[in-house]
Symmetry: C2
Subunit: 151 residues, 2 copies
């Protein structure tokens, strides 16, 4: 198949995979499965992948992920400098998503509320403390498969 890049040259504008370092692969995999996310059959005992409308989500033991990059692991930071957002079509969908995330084992970090930018959002953390924002941003559009499309 011929690939048409959406931008970039030798470094095409892609985020093919987001890999989260996890302490317990089985526990973390069970969490995303409890959300109903589709586990890719390419997954193995060493790494687990979930398909999404956007980038692929990878789960990999944190110490091995650090070793793969060749840098020392750290312990449990308060904030890791990265957040992942799940954009939704309405404020109600944000509330319902937070309830479902908690039911799957997430912890509420910030209950959903109106934001300074005119939207509505809240945060939860997964079993390893990775931060997910649930957000409704008025005017943001989605493709037919749910991929966020920005102008």
């Amino acid at each position: 198949m011929t690939t048409t890049n959406t931008g970039g040259g030798a470094v095409p504008a892609r985020i093919s995979i987001i890999t989260l370092g996890v302490a317990d692969l089985a526990r973390s995999s069970a969490f995303y499965e409890a959300l109903g996310w589709p586990r890719a059959s390419a997954s193995s005992a060493e790494i687990v992948w979930f398909r999404t409308a956007d980038s692929v989500l990878g789960l990999f033991p944190a110490d091995e992920l650090a070793a793969d990059a060749g840098i020392p692991p750290i312990g449990e930071p308060a904030f890791r400098g990265v957040t992942m957002g799940i954009n939704l079509e309405s404020e109600r969908a944000v509330d319902e998503a937070m309830t479902a995330a908690v039911a799957a084992g997430a912890s509420v970090v910030k209950p959903p509320k109106a934001t300074s930018w005119g939207g509505y959002s809240g945060y939860f953390e997964d079993p390893d403390g990775h931060l997910w924002e649930l957000a409704h941003a008025p005017g943001f559009a989605f493709s037919g498969t749910g991929q966020l499309v920005l102008p």
Copy 2:
């Protein structure tokens, strides 16, 4: 438009946006622009977005990102527990991408080499130390727009 979710219930399988906390918004934005990535017109003086084939990339001041989630910021960890991967069609494309990333201001963390899983990959870090893997994984397919598609 009617949206067909690729999986999940109230928490659809989406990673709409990956937001990286950065120390200097102008410096970091210039780096991704130097890669040729398309800056979204929805960007503002407070937050900058780039469109990709997969999730949207957001850049946001690290201290504000921590405050937005309501948790304390940290300093400069050795490893943040998250990596982002740019998958490419060949080993040569990985080498060329690493050269281009360095030309744009990235630092090589791990030069590209054959991996234990039969692929070829290397890592660079952006101006804030966020880790990007450049990888060729034999058998992995892309959509017509370059989005990674896993079975």
